[in-house]
């Protein structure tokens, strides 16, 4: 399956690899890097490969990778067409599958259905109270309190903002125009809305404000549960309301597996799978095909190859952050891209 171009071990001479980018991927990248480094450290000796990681945000990760400041940029969003045309050598290599939950803090509401049309109205200030008829209409039988909605969005540049606005635009293009799909946007003015920094800021902000609604990366699931936040059932492309679970995220991604192009640039939002969750994405490594020297390029290839194989282990790596492994055909596509990294 894997050609000889793809090394499974780092170069003999000690090299160091740098990674910056997505804060969502940062904890996982850290454990991958630590374990990989250990593999190639002779007992009592110095590591053959040193990997430093940094959680700087996806935008910085992409820029750093394109300017050559770092070897690997981590991003929740694939490269935009403008980024690709500026730096044609950049690739986005899928490393894992992530999802996004819609969290809420409404006392007494155990189950909440939401769709993009309703979320658009909430985030544009057309719906301001949880007992609004439009919310009741998709939640028959639920007793919704008379409580003001506090909308939370990210203050910093975020792949999560990109995913959330992509979902709103995919289901409700009239209410949420494509111009408002990005990693940061000018949010419509909504009274009492709050901007938070980072996923942890969203969790804390939502826990502190009754009536809150927030979009939070799936890797923070354990923290949102600990904070007592509800996890909404989100309407998918075939009209079903589902929570993000390992099964629904896998099913959602499966519908896109055969459609994933060789470049792995694909939006998996609002998919057609009946049992598939609607807001899912590939987590990417952004790497330039041209690295500064051969041994370093070999190390990057070996490290990324290890991530899409050994690094997919659920119990050690993916389960703690509620990510899902890549389907085997996507692993092959990632390997094909990894093989292109040279010097």
């Amino acid at each position: 399956m894997v050609g000889p171009a793809l090394p499974t071990a780092p170069a003999k001479s000690p090299q160091s690899i740098t990674e910056t980018g997505s804060t969502l991927l940062f904890p996982l990248m850290g454990s991958w890097a630590t374990d990989y480094q250990k593999l190639y450290t002779p007992s009592g000796g110095t590591p053959t490969v040193t990997i430093t990681t940094g959680g700087t945000g996806s935008g910085t990760g992409i820029t750093d990778a394109s300017t050559g400041t770092v070897n690997i940029g981590a991003s929740d969003a694939y490269l935009s067409s403008a980024q690709k045309s500026e730096t044609p050598g950049l690739m986005n290599i899928a490393l894992a599958i992530s999802g996004q939950q819609i969290s809420y803090n409404v006392p007494g509401v155990k189950k909440l259905n939401l769709d993009a049309a309703t979320l658009t109205k909430i985030y544009t200030g057309k719906i301001t109270n949880w007992n609004d008829p439009a919310i009741k209409a998709i939640n028959p039988g639920a007793s919704l309190p008379n409580l003001k909605i506090v909308t939370l969005h990210r203050a910093d540049s975020s792949g999560d903002t990109f995913l959330f606005t992509s979902y709103l635009n995919a289901q409700d293009p009239a209410g949420w125009p494509a111009a408002n799909v990005n990693t940061t946007i000018s949010w419509p003015s909504v009274s009492g809305s709050l901007a938070e920094t980072g996923n942890s800021g969203m969790v804390a902000g939502c826990a502190a404000n009754k009536g809150c609604i927030a979009y939070i990366g799936i890797s923070y699931l354990q923290k949102t549960e600990a904070a007592g936040l509800g996890e909404a059932f989100v309407k998918n492309g075939s009209g079903k309301f589902l929570q993000p679970t390992p099964a629904t995220i896998k099913a959602g991604a499966a519908a896109f597996t055969s459609k994933t192009p060789a470049s792995e640039t694909i939006s998996m939002i609002n998919g057609p799978a009946p049992r598939g969750y609607a807001i899912i994405n590939y987590e990417y490594a952004i790497v330039n095909t041209k690295q500064s020297n051969g041994p370093q390029a070999q190390d990057i290839r070996a490290f990324l190859h290890w991530i899409v194989h050994e690094g997919q282990d659920a119990t050690t790596y993916l389960d703690p952050v509620d990510f899902q492994p890549l389907p085997s055909s996507v692993v092959t596509q990632s390997d094909a891209q990894i093989a292109k990294i040279g010097s």
Partner: protein, 357 residues
């Protein structure tokens, strides 16, 4: 050679007797020392000019394309969506559909600083008067020491306190009371309405006030100390009350110096970044509708938008941020120059201007 050295340093001893050898180290003669000193002396000025120049070069395309519209509207949009293509307008590359306006940032910056000063100035000048004229010497130096300690607290610490403790306290216990008791008439209605959730204009301004108070108070205290005792005693002998003495004798004596101290505090407030970024609610492009609304300032926008701007392949977002930074730099440099001029007019001695900055 020696003669020119003494001309350069009139108060030095180079021209008298044997050259001083206090350091006991030879740098290879006077000439080398002078050149090294010359270079070191010019470094700060060179640094400032370099920053300005680099910023200006980075910002020029943005200045050209954004034009005056940069200052007249509040839409900050990198481009028409994630997959917008790069287009060129007037030779400047940017993402199709991009729009950059900083009216809200300018209003937010001026508004937070103005409210902060409105609160900080009376408190600071009052504190300075009391420290110099009323408190026993030991207590005065203790209070003064605390003021200087407050000036030294890193702004990120104050920001964290603002987010975790102070903001919620204002939002739950203070703001609702103010909002209830102000009449719904023009101007004053700005104090009414939704009291938000602890991040916004009022909390940011109060956090700034906490940071401005030590600067204004410490500088005012040092200024008031210089007012001779005789005129003050004279005023008291004429039957003036303490308040009248302060208003008619002490404060006029150092009046423009205190204005300088206030402008110095203003400079701090205008440029303060992290504490405001943490407490302003970061509503990009939004001018707060009332005293409690979420908003943003120039500095907060730069720090919050940088990562996103890096994602813009045309680099035009970064250039627009550079233009924003240039605007902030011009504003703060201007206030700083004014402050220094005003403080210097009062006294020829080297005042501890900028202590705590």
């Amino acid at each position: 050679m020696a003669a020119s050295a003494s001309e350069l340093r009139p108060e030095g001893e180079a021209g008298h007797g044997p050259p001083p050898r206090r350091l006991g180290i030879s740098f290879g003669g006077d000439r080398a020392v002078r050149w090294v000193g010359f270079v070191f002396a010019l470094l700060p000025a060179g640094g400032l000019l370099a920053v300005l120049a680099v910023l200006a070069v980075e910002a020029i395309p943005a200045i050209k394309l954004n034009g005056w519209g940069f200052f007249t509207h509040s839409v900050w949009n990198q481009g028409g969506g994630y997959n917008a293509v790069i287009v060129k307008t007037g030779g400047v590359a940017h993402l199709a559909g991009s729009q950059f306006g900083i009216l809200a940032e300018i209003v937010g910056t001026l508004l937070t600083s103005a409210i902060a000063l409105l609160i900080a100035v009376p408190v600071s000048v009052g504190a300075a008067l009391v420290i110099v004229e009323r408190l026993p010497r030991r207590l005065a130096s203790l209070v003064g020491a605390f003021l200087e300690l407050l000036a030294g607290v890193p702004s990120v610490v104050i920001g964290l306190w603002g987010v975790l403790t102070f903001g919620p306290f204002i939002a739950h216990d203070i703001a609702p009371w103010i909002a209830r008791n102000f009449p719904d008439i023009p101007v004053l209605s700005y104090f009414t309405g939704s009291t938000g959730n602890g991040q916004g204009l009022l909390v940011s301004s109060l956090v700034l006030a906490v940071m401005v108070i030590p600067i204004v108070a410490a500088t005012s205290r040092d200024l008031i100390r210089q007012v001779p005792i005789l005129p003050r005693e004279g005023a008291q002998a004429l039957g003036m009350s303490d308040f009248e003495t302060a208003r008619r004798v002490t404060l006029p004596w150092v009046g423009s110096g205190i204005v300088g101290a206030v402008v110095l505090g203003l400079g701090r407030a205008l440029g303060e970044t992290i504490a405001v970024a943490m407490t302003c609610g970061f509503a990009l492009g939004e001018i707060p509708g009332n005293l409690y609304g979420a908003m943003t300032t120039i500095a907060a926008t730069i720090v919050n938008e940088l990562d996103s701007a890096f994602g813009d392949a045309s680099k035009f977002s970064v250039r627009s941020l550079a233009e924003l930074a240039l605007v902030l730099m011009v504003i703060t440099l201007a206030t700083n120059v004014v402050a220094r001029l005003l403080v210097r007019r009062v006294s020829g001695t080297a005042l501890p201007v900028g202590r705590g900055l």
